[in-house]
């Protein structure tokens, strides 16, 4: 029954890849748009498969070398991630079309759909190629930042290395061979030992880290497509650390994930609270939620290792809500930021302002997306955070005080992430959308065009509904995954519009809370309406200073530019231990600022030494990438015995 669906899904993904490849040869804006339609179709198809609980299905096809049987699989584990990726890809390609993005989406989709290491490795490599080419788009010098160089190599290398290195060490050779041929089912069914499981976990963590590397430290000039790698990385973690090891799951994997995710959330939140540009701030917010999702997966692993399926189910629910709701919301905000940059000429917060008056629909869409990212009710971010706290509440209490320290630290980081997410999202909204325009170009920004408006408004409505009905979202799209991996049916706890810890206890009810706030707001507005019957317009008070004719929009420095939202760190924290990163684009801003010492020294002819990244030419990088892929595939083929 579901085989035709899988075949159709595979055809759609291959078509997206083909369109991307054709676009590389003959650039045409129509091709990425067609890819957007295909991605949207894929998202709908995936949603239907999830809604109607399609049976797991697999398709296999031997490629050039006999052991490299390429298989694709659609089951409860990968379909929710695929849905999130295709939905995000459709939004991005429809609003900001480009062929490298089509390649990225197609490659990542192939990696998620792959059954076994070969399609995953190939998919990640293709996606990295897309990411790499996208970063070149805005670089006439054809030079790449060094941080992107290893991106096509490392994930594929690590994923392909799992069976190859195990063969090298002679650990469970038949199972390893099965990993290349029949796929995940064989790995799951094979007898596992602690060493193999630990080794695989280490490689899985490294592979996920490599996939996330360009996301975590985005190089200057890289586009919003980097955030698409987040669902794929979270899928790898879920598949390799939760699904495949089964009973061999070990608690320390979870602690590693827990602390990594929590630290990521705080660091990215700190960056978001001080980011000078719209895209940087939103990207950091998305990564904050990705960090929380990783922490939730870590809590799930710990709970599984301690045989606490209910806590594991809560952790998985928190991660899945972040993947299904928050990630597409982040892509909406990112795409909207790109449109704002086009319309207003810049995405620097210090040069925007009053967009709610010049592009009201676009600003409303951006505000709704930011609400989802802000981790306050009724956004999906808050529902995900609530589930993470519930998971931490139900994590095992074994292992003494030492084992509880990571839980307490994660709770502290999640609390800090809550505050930082709310502050960062409202900072972006307050500076970019409200106030007075800070530049003539911002004052002349025009509304977004009809087509992106329709796409983004529809996607925003969908994301808002997901936030309002978190229980329904999880039940519709992630229920089989939660049951499959934890064995717990959360039907009684995930109601349509509420989440609760137990079947009888109250929990977080989105719609009643929203209704309460709206009811009271309506009451306040109605009861004070008569006091507003006569209002008078007044000019902005500038401390008595007359407006300068040279500055028709007022002095831009008279408004907050969003630079003071981060607090001075308390002196009680050891500064040596907490070294938060500087603002990502501080150097670029410094170089742009004509009044800066850098600019003045350049004008005066003095030589200024600034750190520069090591770079590789695009052509050299392409050859290195293709060569490494060939070597990897060849090594896998040589090391692995024949498939079944």
């Amino acid at each position: 029954m579901s085989d035709p669906f899988l075949l159709l899904l595979l055809c759609l993904i291959v078509a997206v890849l083909l369109l991307g490849a054709i676009g590389a040869v003959r650039p045409d804006r129509g091709l990425p748009r067609a890819a957007a339609i295909l991605c949207g179709g894929g998202a709908v198809l995936t949603a239907l498969m999830l809604l109607f609980r399609a049976d797991p299905a697999a398709l296999s096809q031997a490629v050039a070398l006999p052991p490299l049987t390429s298989r694709v699989l659609a089951d409860a584990v990968n379909l929710p991630f695929l849905f999130a990726l295709l939905l995000s890809g459709a939004i991005m390609l429809a609003v900001t079309p480009s062929w490298p993005r089509a390649l990225t989406v197609g490659g990542l989709a192939l990696a998620i759909l792959g059954d076994g290491v070969v399609p995953i490795g190939v998919g990640l490599t293709v996606a990295s190629l897309g990411l790499w080419r996208a970063a070149l788009d805005d670089r006439p010098s054809q030079r790449l930042p060094s941080s992107l160089i290893p991106s096509p190599l490392v994930p594929s290398l690590l994923v392909l290395a799992v069976p190859a290195v195990m063969l090298w060490f002679g650990i469970a050779a038949p199972t390893t061979a099965a990993a290349m041929g029949p796929g995940f089912a064989a790995i799951r069914a094979a007898p596992a030992d602690g060493l193999r499981a630990a080794f695989s976990a280490g490689l899985a963590l490294a592979a996920a880290a490599a996939v996330l590397a360009p996301v975590w430290r985005p190089p200057a000039g890289s586009g919003p497509e980097r955030d698409l790698a987040i669902p794929a990385a979270l899928y790898l973690l879920t598949r390799l650390l939760i699904d495949l090891p089964g009973p061999m799951t070990q608690a320390w994997w979870g602690f590693a994930l827990l602390l990594t995710g929590a630290a990521t959330a705080v660091i990215q939140g700190w960056r978001a609270a001080g980011a000078p540009a719209l895209a940087d701030g939103i990207g950091s917010l998305v990564r904050l939620h990705a960090g929380l999702a990783i922490a939730a997966l870590g809590a799930c692993v710990i709970a599984r290792a301690a045989d606490l399926p209910e806590a594991a189910a809560f952790g998985l629910s928190a991660a899945m809500l972040a993947v299904l709701g928050t990630m597409p919301t982040g892509i909406i905000a990112t795409a909207m930021a790109a449109l704002i940059a086009d319309s207003a000429g810049t995405d620097r917060l210090a040069r925007l302002g009053a967009l709610i008056q010049t592009m009201p629909v676009g600003a409303t869409i951006m505000a709704a997306a930011l609400l989802g990212l802000a981790a306050v009710p009724p956004g999906t971010g808050f529902a995900s955070l609530w589930l993470l706290f519930e998971t931490l509440l139900h994590t095992p209490r074994t292992g003494g005080l030492f084992a509880q320290i990571p839980i307490a630290l994660t709770a502290a980081c999640a609390s800090a992430a809550f505050a930082l997410a709310a502050a960062s999202a409202f900072r972006i909204a307050g500076i970019a959308l409200l106030g007075r325009p800070r530049t003539a170009r911002a004052a002349g920004a025009v509304e977004i065009r009809r087509m992106p408006m329709v796409v983004l408004a529809t996607a925003t409505a969908l994301a808002t509904v997901m936030g309002l009905l978190p229980g329904l979202t999880l039940r519709a799209l992630a229920h089989p995954l939660i049951i499959g991996l934890t064995g717990v049916d959360l039907d009684t706890r995930l109601r349509w519009a509420s989440l609760s810890a137990t079947a009888t206890s109250p929990g977080y009810a989105t719609l009643p809370i929203l209704a309460l706030v709206l009811l009271v707001t309506g009451g306040v507005i109605l009861s004070t309406r008569r006091y507003r019957a006569a209002t008078r317009r007044s000019t902005v008070w500038t401390d008595g200073q007359p407006a300068s004719p040279a500055l028709p929009f007022g002095d831009p420095m008279a408004q907050s530019a969003g630079t003071g939202f981060r607090p001075a760190l308390p002196k009680v924290f050891p500064a040596a231990l907490i070294r938060f990163p500087p603002r990502p684009s501080a150097r670029a801003e410094y170089a742009e600022d004509r009044s800066s010492p850098l600019a003045s020294s350049q004008r005066s002819g003095r030589r200024v030494r600034l750190p520069s990244a090591r770079r590789l030419s695009a052509r050299g990088g392409l050859w290195a990438m293709l060569l490494s892929l060939s070597v990897l595939l060849l090594a896998t083929a040589v090391l692995g015995p024949s498939g079944p």
Binding site: A408, P506, L518, V572
Partner: protein, 305 residues
């Protein structure tokens, strides 16, 4: 019948909070003055100011969006919603199933965000600085508050406030040391919220908008006092079906707690002074660390139980 009683308790609670908010604000101003050796304004002065403000024609600056008009109303609504969820004199109110600790914290956050967005919409230097200062403080204060809620939830077995308070009333909120440390955190946070010498967010508002902002500030103080009283001193709180006499006694006990908290706050403000921004930052940093300690004690306590 039970639902009717719960609804009545909720309505009485809301009415009491509405009365208590200006009373506490007036009392604080009067006590501050008396403790500083001055006569102080009449007790009804803040209420009169509110009425006077509401009668003035509000001035709406040019270039402002609908956010400027909606912000004060949304902020007050969020605070009212939080006040409705935090019990004062009785447990088992109609909205108690919604009284999740994390939701209450987020409602307080929404109220602050609404006020900050209103300030940023005006587009002046002073309002922008006020929004920045308030947000910077919140980034340090909110993690501490959330951690306190998490520590209490660890001890109470869930985030629902009624559940935690019920266990505290029965002496089941263990370990007591974690409870005491959490109390210290919450007291500090309440003191910081009521005493922080920060620029006024509503300085550019006028008329009814300014009145709404002031009312939201008063209600916020009452929410803090209710949180402290209910979570750590639930003495005299009525059960869900206590009856009229039980309610009356509980209301008297709540009034006493309110008066004691107002006096304590005024004394703290007088004798400890109003810390500056770096002082506040240090204080909140210590609070966060203490909240982390409370969480650790609670985690280890639950583990050994």
């Amino acid at each position: 019948m039970n639902a009717v009683i719960a609804l009545m308790a909720q309505l009485v609670h809301l009415a009491l909070v509405a009365v208590a908010a200006p009373a506490v604000a007036s009392g604080l101003v009067w006590l501050d003055a008396r403790l500083a050796g001055r006569t102080g304004p009449p007790l009804m002065q803040p209420v009169r100011e509110l009425i006077r403000l509401s009668r003035k024609i509000p001035a709406v600056p040019e270039n402002t969006s609908p956010v400027f008009v909606l912000g004060p109303s949304v902020g007050l609504a969020a605070i009212i919603a939080a006040a409705a969820l935090v019990p004062s004199f009785s447990l088992g109110m109609a909205l108690s199933p919604l009284a999740d600790g994390l939701v209450v914290v987020s409602l307080l956050t929404i109220a602050r965000i609404a006020a900050c967005l209103t300030a940023l919409d005006i587009g002046t230097a002073a309002s922008g600085r006020a929004a920045e200062a308030r947000t910077a403080l919140a980034i340090l204060a909110e993690p501490g508050l959330l951690l306190v809620v998490f520590a209490l939830a660890l001890m109470g077995g869930g985030f629902n406030l009624d559940q935690i308070i019920g266990q505290q009333r029965d002496g089941l909120l263990l370990p007591a040391s974690a409870s005491a440390v959490a109390l210290a955190c919450l007291l500090t946070l309440a003191f910081v919220d009521a005493s922080a010498a920060l620029p006024d967010l509503a300085a550019e508002c006028s008329g009814i908008d300014l009145a709404l902002s002031r009312a939201a500030g008063w209600l916020r103080t009452v929410v803090w006092i209710n949180l402290l009283g209910a979570l750590f001193l639930p003495i005299g709180m009525a059960g869900p079906f206590a009856g009229p006499l039980g309610w009356l006694l509980a209301i008297l006990a709540w009034a006493l707690k309110l008066a004691a908290a107002t006096l304590g706050l005024a004394l703290a403000r007088t004798f400890l002074g109003r810390p500056g921004r770096q002082g506040l930052s240090n204080l909140l940093g210590i609070t966060a660390l203490i909240a982390l300690l409370a969480t650790l004690i609670a985690l280890s306590g639950v583990g050994s139980a």
